[in-house]
């Protein structure tokens, strides 16, 4: 199948504004969008900039906006974007993060927010024998959130971030849930200030865009609401 790739380009050394450039690519409909991008890069235009690594949806490098939706180029097949010869696929960088070059965005803010929620197990109790005990049921409570590959698709999909760039964002909150819901963790008090903040969990308005965008099927909106309830409960307990 012959498709047109309409790709947003931006080179800070020569461009003042982003622009679109089109490439014609002959590609198997079953191929990944990443395969099409690689064809451009390796045989047409070596200057095209994008991140990539695992090429099967587990490393989180190639998140971008694909026909207006956020997702991974390696987990999106050409046939799901184009139906026939001459169809155009539009590719843009993720939103709400500064574009460094073409499809490459500066993820510093995304990772700064991730670090704010202290994304590590907090528990200073000595372990008596080998492993801590946890039932499979307890583990499954937060199972989906451990899928997160920090690709920032949810971040770009979130309408709230469009209005308030200080918002903590879906990934950081779902990763806070990953630890708060872990029976081995004792870090609620340490994470509370970042979460129970006007720019913490509260700006979320349940648009569900993050959940729909997540390439790892995490129920992000649900997890955000669960964190909200945990914070409410803690406030109630404090006021009693």
């Amino acid at each position: 199948m012959k498709i047109n790739l309409k790709i947003q380009r931006f080179n800070p050394e020569t461009d003042t504004e982003p622009r679109f450039q089109e490439y014609s690519v002959e590609i198997d409909p079953n191929a990944r969008l990443l395969d099409a991008l690689m064809q451009v890069k390796r045989f047409q235009d070596g200057s095209l900039g994008f991140r990539k690594s695992c090429a099967h949806g587990v490393c989180g490098s190639d998140a971008m906006r694909i026909n207006g939706k956020d997702g991974l180029a390696c987990k999106t097949l050409v046939k799901d974007l184009a139906t026939g010869d001459g169809d155009t696929i539009t590719v843009e960088p993720l939103r709400y993060l500064p574009v460094q070059r073409d499809l490459i965005v500066d993820q510093s803010d995304f990772f700064r927010k991730y670090r704010l929620i202290k994304p590590y197990l907090i528990n200073d109790d000595p372990v008596e024998a080998g492993e801590r005990i946890q039932s499979q049921e307890e583990r499954m409570v937060f199972d989906d959130t451990t899928n997160c590959i920090l690709c920032a698709s949810c971040y770009s999909a979130c309408p709230v971030l469009g209005e308030n760039t200080a918002f903590l964002g879906p990934a950081a909150i779902s990763q806070a849930y990953r630890f708060l819901a872990d029976t081995r963790d004792q870090g609620f008090a340490e994470r509370q200030p970042a979460l129970d903040d006007p720019d913490g969990v509260w700006p979320c308005q349940n648009h569900f865009k993050c959940t729909k965008a997540c390439p790892r099927s995490i129920l992000i909106t649900k997890r955000i609401n669960q964190v909200k309830r945990m914070l409410d409960k803690a406030r109630e307990a404090e006021s009693e």
């Binding site: 390796r42 200057s47 197990l121 372990v127 080998g130 005990i133 499979q136």
Partner: protein, 578 residues
């Protein structure tokens, strides 16, 4: 720009992060990585990490060590295998204590499952030794270690591509790297450098490896006169998704999945009567290719891309969902099938380098057959060769290797840097790297790297693949020499400084070409069959001649071969049957 650290760790996968956790507690440590840390390929490991915890049935580290030695066709250094198996138990507990969400037994302990070549009582029957977190064990290890690095405030230099070592005579004084965001060359002066750059499966056409797996550490070492060990041993994982090479974990077979040919026959019964589908990977991959060549592939046309079926339909949706959710999703995304209902079309995929930078059990790089240490230089993980995998690695032992030897290297570095002098480097340390990059950027060329890369991968896949012979391997050696010549004429198209990924990819291609040549030359030299190195013209293992490690030195356009003895101090080599 010149940075001064005690310790510089190159690479941020499992072994790099574990070493960083250890080294950063006792020395000024920087992690320099071309990827964001959580993008590393450790995160793609699926099935598990082995340790003789004995949580679900009796198990012993001694059995684990023996399986590792036998699985590696006796080319494993046995003392190192013992360390691997013994330290595995505490390593897994440490990961759990640091938050890794393992699957659990009904008693709430770490659950364990079967994996290829792991047996009870020296080969009697499969044993449950692989600790796992669904089928994303590597992802969870990478996440847990990264989380701990955040907790411990480890310093990261993200998206810096290392292009050279700074050496003073025989000792290492630091590394030279390009900052991707700016194109600037940085010199990291350090008392100790650890390479943890991962594998180089991208030299093959069909691979489970990431684009980033281009062997940057080994290639830099090779160009600096350090030999590479046992490069002829490259593992083809039996079950890659046909055509794409995406890994389908061995845990599918560990949970009861079965390989079938076009007649629906469980053909592994004929090749490995005891372990069946859970025989070591080299044996299963060869068996599959033999079936295809006999016209027993699913299409039956005997062509190289004919395939077989991995049947998981009898496992049930629940088991797949709880224990193998990611591969279920891969099958759905890339093949449009549900493995609970349809067998998965599979073919072996280039997966893991048993060989690499030679080290001792403390991660110290050695430069010859007498184990002479290169002061200040360390390596761990897939880029290194301890050797705990010998001629064929067992499934789950790679994640274990990262954790055990990443930690050991980090600890040794912590001691070493205390007594080592801080090197003084000037900008001149980066001159060779600057010259190389200037050559890649000046002028224009008609060649594009993409075609050279394609040819390299095709030749390596066809001539230095699962079955090998003298003529094919010589063809590959010649082809790599020609491709390296053509590579010298290639120029990048991107003239920018910031995020010049064109330059990055040409550097990576240069690394892969060097490693492909070394691999092909090492393979052509070894006139026996052992583990993953399987020769049609020399089908038998030959312990009299070849019970020794290869050391390959890159010298200009040729490869010089030397050898290193194998530690067989515990178990006498025996015929390898399963």
């Amino acid at each position: 720009m010149i940075h001064q650290f005690d310790t510089v760790i190159v690479g941020s996968g499992g072994s790099g992060l574990y070493a960083a956790l250890e080294a950063s507690q006792r020395s000024r440590t920087a992690v320099v990585s071309k990827l964001y840390p959580i993008r590393s390929h450790t995160g793609a490991a699926q099935g598990g990490i082995s340790a003789a915890l004995g949580n679900t049935e009796e198990d012993k580290p001694e059995w684990h060590a023996f399986d590792t030695v036998k699985g590696g066709d006796y080319l494993v250094d046995q003392g190192a295998a013992n360390i691997l198996a013994e330290e595995a138990v505490q390593a897994v507990y440490d990961l759990e204590n640091r938050g890794l969400p393992f699957n659990r037994t009904p008693e709430g302990r770490i659950d364990q499952r079967r994996f290829g070549g792991h047996t009870r009582n020296f080969g009697e029957a499969p044993v449950r030794r692989a600790c796992y977190a669904a089928d994303r064990t590597g992802h969870m290890i990478l996440q847990t270690l990264y989380q701990q690095c955040i907790k411990n405030d480890v310093a990261f230099f993200d998206e810096f591509q290392v292009v050279d070592l700074a050496m003073n005579g025989d000792s290492c004084q630091g590394v030279v790297a390009v900052e991707l965001a700016t194109g600037e060359v940085h010199i990291f002066a350090a008392k100790a450098v650890l390479f943890a750059t991962g594998g180089f499966g991208r030299m093959f056409k069909v691979t489970s490896n990431a684009y980033a797996n281009t062997g940057d550490g080994p290639a830099v070492c090779a160009r600096r006169g350090i030999p590479l060990e046992d490069m002829e041993f490259f593992q083809f994982h039996p079950t890659g998704i046909m055509g794409l090479g995406i890994l389908i974990t061995e845990a599918v077979r560990g949970e009861g999945g079965i390989l079938r040919n076009r007649d629906g026959e469980r053909f592994m019964e004929r090749y490995s009567p005891t372990l069946l589908d859970l025989a070591p990977r080299d044996i299963v991959a060869r068996s599959m290719l033999t079936e295809v060549r006999a016209g027993k592939g699913i299409r039956g046309d005997r062509k190289i891309d004919d395939y077989l079926h991995l049947d998981a339909t009898h496992l049930g949706k629940e088991v797949l969902l709880a224990k193998l959710p990611d591969i279920t999703s891969f099958c759905n995304t890339y093949l449009g099938i549900d493995p609970a209902e349809t067998p998965i079309p599979v073919l072996p995929t280039a997966h893991y380098a048993m060989g690499g930078i030679p080290t001792d059990v403390y991660g110290r790089v050695v430069r010859d057959g007498q184990d002479t240490v290169v002061p200040g230089l360390y390596a761990a993980g897939e880029c290194a060769c301890v050797s705990v995998h010998g001629a064929n690695r067992l499934g789950t032992n790679s994640l274990l290797d990262l954790v055990v030897f990443g930690r050991r290297a980090g600890q040794h570095i912590g001691d070493y840097v205390k007594q080592a002098d801080a090197p003084q480097l000037s900008e001149a340390a980066a001159d060779p790297a600057r010259e190389w990059m200037a050559r890649l950027t000046e002028g224009t060329s008609e060649h594009h790297g993409g075609h050279i890369s394609d040819e390299m991968q095709t030749v390596m896949m066809e001539k230095v693949g699962i079955y090998r012979n003298a003529a094919d391997m010589q063809t590959a050696v010649d082809a790599m020499q020609q491709l390296r010549e053509r590579y010298r004429a290639v120029r990048i198209q991107d003239t920018g400084k910031q995020f010049n990924t064109d330059l990055l990819e040409l550097i990576e291609l240069g690394n892969l070409l060097d490693l492909s040549l070394i691999t092909a030359a090492s393979a052509a030299n070894r006139t026996e069959s052992r583990g993953a190195h399987s020769r049609e013209d020399f089908p038998e293992r030959d312990d009299d001649q070849w019970l020794k490690h290869t050391l390959a030195y890159l010298e200009g356009d040729t490869v010089r071969i030397d050898y290193k003895p194998v530690d067989t101090s515990i178990w006498e080599p025996k015929p390898r049957t399963y």
